[in-house]
């Protein structure tokens, strides 16, 4: 376990990325506070570059590459990590290749291309994504280029970058006694957990997860990583992956609990934040808000009074809002 990151890795990441990232604000809402009977502190990563916290991990990873070797960064993602890596690569004058399912929406392809990255299409299966990514790296090698795979969450550099979210939260709100974090692959959860517990061992780190994608819940309860066997059906499109191998040790060590929320709770929480806080957040971000609003959270954690909630991103398709009539 000596391979695990520690706080200084996250602090170094913070220095490394500070000139690239926005130090996003913390917002509060008296309406939501009244609803839960606690003080909630929302970290607005929807205001982050590319509209999601993912940019932190991406720029931290790309900033550590040996630019002399003219690396080409490669990943497979159609979501926020794809955009994040594309922008990070552009800022560091590094070429980026994004492997994306051919079924990815036009707007996601356009965003990545807009940042100057190239796209290689694959079939919309896990197998094809991996194989195509590997093929790209092999192809680059035969051209004498250095292909560097930067995973969306299963990479220590990425996890350290995500941890900077907690550094900022704890600097801005010294009285935080807990942080609620949405969980997919576990990069954000792992980074935030490590950082928060290192700064304050008493702080509670709580994962928020769709009940339809409850691999983190099952894993934490059993103590064994239990990835989902099928792609889950959830509106939280950023959380459809299972906690991965690299992130799992951090989740296992630093996470106190996992709260599950239903699809309806996610939609309701998203609408509530849009309407009351006037913030555009995506369903994955709403998962954390939904967890804070559950009776379970109120009953089980009545002692927690100052709760940080990570609003992880705000990239939504405006033509397909969950509450719109179809």
């Amino acid at each position: 376990m000596s391979d695990l990151l520690n706080l200084s890795d996250v602090q170094l990441a913070a220095e490394r990325i500070s000139s690239y990232v926005h130090r996003t604000p913390i917002m509060t809402s008296s309406t939501l506070d009244e609803q839960v009977g606690k003080h909630l502190y929302f970290k607005c990563e929807n205001f982050q570059k590319v509209g999601a916290f993912k940019f932190r991990g991406a720029i931290n990873a790309v900033s550590q590459l040996d630019l002399e070797s003219r690396p080409v960064v490669v990943t497979h993602s159609s979501g926020n990590h794809a955009q994040a890596l594309s922008l990070a690569a552009k800022l560091k004058c590094v070429q980026a290749i994004i492997v994306m399912p051919r079924t990815a929406p036009h707007c996601k392809r356009a965003a990545v291309l807009g940042y100057g990255a190239s796209i290689v299409s694959c079939e919309p299966t896990e197998q094809s994504r991996e194989a195509t990514k590997d093929a790209e790296i092999a192809r680059l090698r035969t051209c004498g280029r250095n292909g560097e795979y930067i995973s969306t969450s299963q990479d220590a550099r990425v996890i350290a970058g995500q941890g900077t979210v907690a550094l900022e939260m704890l600097e801005d709100v010294k009285q935080l006694d807990s942080i609620i974090v949405p969980v997919g692959g576990g990069g954000l959860l792992g980074g935030v957990g490590l950082t928060a517990k290192s700064l304050n061992p008493q702080i509670k780190v709580i994962a928020a997860e769709p009940v339809n994608a409850a691999d983190c819940y099952n894993s934490v309860k059993s103590g064994q990583r239990q990835p989902l066997l099928e792609p889950p059906q959830t509106i939280a499109d950023g959380l459809r992956v299972s906690v991965g191998v690299v992130a799992w040790p951090y989740v296992k060590k630093y996470v106190d609990d996992v709260i599950l929320v239903s699809e309806q709770e996610i939609k309701d929480a998203m609408k509530l934040v849009w309407e009351r806080m006037k913030l555009v957040i995506e369903p994955s971000a709403a998962v954390a808000v939904a967890a804070a609003l559950t009776q379970q959270f109120r009953d089980q954690y009545s002692d927690l009074k100052h709760v940080g909630v990570v609003l992880s991103g705000g990239n939504v398709d405006l033509s397909k809002l969950p509450w719109a009539d179809m």
């Binding site: 929807n46 849009w274 309407e275 806080m277 006037k278 913030l279 555009v280 405006l318 809002l321 509450w323």
Partner: protein, 338 residues
């Protein structure tokens, strides 16, 4: 030149002055949010200048109106401890703000609302404990109904814009903006009755006499013609504009706000269509992750216009007042099926 302008402003006999605005800042500080200023690389590229958005959509009650309403109610209570309550006529945000301010100060409140106002705004007003009375969507009906309410209830009328303390309250936004962004060359303000425009112009020009204040209006308000002529050229009786910007439907400026606008606001008025407003609104949702109502997006549409682009390149840093975010997310304009 600086000294002369400030002196001129203080003898001009405007409804508010910098002293009143400055006092309002202190009075309101514990009660309102000092809203953030946000930027967007994409917007800067499209506009060709550095753009700063003051996000009053994140203000208490979801719009800047709480500044004027609270300042007026606090001042009223201070000067008249017997006051029973307050009343107004409003398409929404001022009504909500007054209701919230009245509740804060433990006064009763009635709001006269045009029967075309969005349901979200009506619900919000009631949510703050105020009584809603409906009227026809004409300025005359608003005024007459409100007069009747005041005489029946004894509540004091607080105008959405023609009130010294309301104007001074809105002016606090200008003070904050100038404090938050060094070297602003211009501020673009959405305009209806002119309370925000007048307040921000007074504040900004007092602090930076050479700053330009641009009004942004829905097409049909015709403010530029009035400003250039130095006269109120609007037709009588007062009309409501047909615009998606439901907070900007009053065609005429108020009696107190007009003299201030005439003197301090740039004669180039930026006029935007519904289509431009909706595009700008969508841009703000997508790129800035802010829920903004059509009126609040009008300044964004204004700086994206050809007219603004053709303005002097001396205007390098421009502030936009994103006035509010009270819109029903069930009925966003691009969701409507025709």
């Amino acid at each position: 030149c600086t000294r002369r302008l400030v002196d001129a402003m203080s003898v001009a006999g405007y409804a508010a002055d910098f002293k009143a605005i400055h006092e309002a800042c202190a009075r309101l500080a514990p009660l309102i949010h000092r809203t953030p200023v946000l930027t967007s690389r994409t917007l800067d590229e499209r506009v060709g200048r550095s753009v700063f958005l003051k996000a009053e959509s994140l203000q208490k009650t979801g719009a800047f109106k709480i500044r004027g309403a609270l300042n007026a109610v606090l001042q009223l209570k201070e000067s008249n401890s017997d006051v029973r309550g307050v009343a107004t006529h409003s398409a929404g945000n001022h009504g909500q703000a007054l209701a919230a301010a009245a509740r804060k100060c433990q006064l009763s409140c009635t709001v006269v609302v045009p029967n075309t106002a969005p349901q979200a705004k009506v619900d919000a007003i009631r949510g703050y404990g105020a009584t809603v009375v409906f009227c026809d969507p004409t300025p005359q009906s608003r005024k007459a109904t409100c007069e009747r309410v005041c005489s029946e209830t004894g509540q004091v009328f607080i105008s959405p814009y023609d009130n010294n303390d309301v104007i001074a309250g809105q002016g606090t936004l200008g003070v904050e903006f100038i404090e938050q962004v060094a070297d602003l060359d211009a501020i673009v303000v959405p305009v209806s009755g002119g309370g925000l425009l007048a307040g921000v112009a007074l504040a900004a020009k007092s602090l930076k006499p050479h700053i330009k204040i641009f009004a942004a209006e829905p097409t049909g308000k015709d403010l530029e013609r009035c400003l250039r002529a130095g006269e109120r050229l609007w037709p009588e009786p007062p009309r409501a504009l047909d615009t998606i910007a439901d907070g900007l439907r009053t065609q005429q400026l108020g009696q107190l706000t007009w003299p201030i606008a005439k003197d301090l606001v740039d004669q180039t008025v930026l006029s935007v269509s519904d289509a431009e407003t909706v595009d700008a609104m969508k841009f703000v949702f997508e790129r800035m992750k802010l829920v903004v109502e059509p009126s609040g997006a009008v300044p964004v549409a204004a700086v994206l216009s050809d007219r603004f682009r053709s303005l002097s390149s001396d205007i390098r840093k421009v502030g936009l007042v994103i006035s509010g975010g009270n819109v029903s997310v069930d009925k966003l304009p691009w969701m409507r099926t025709k």
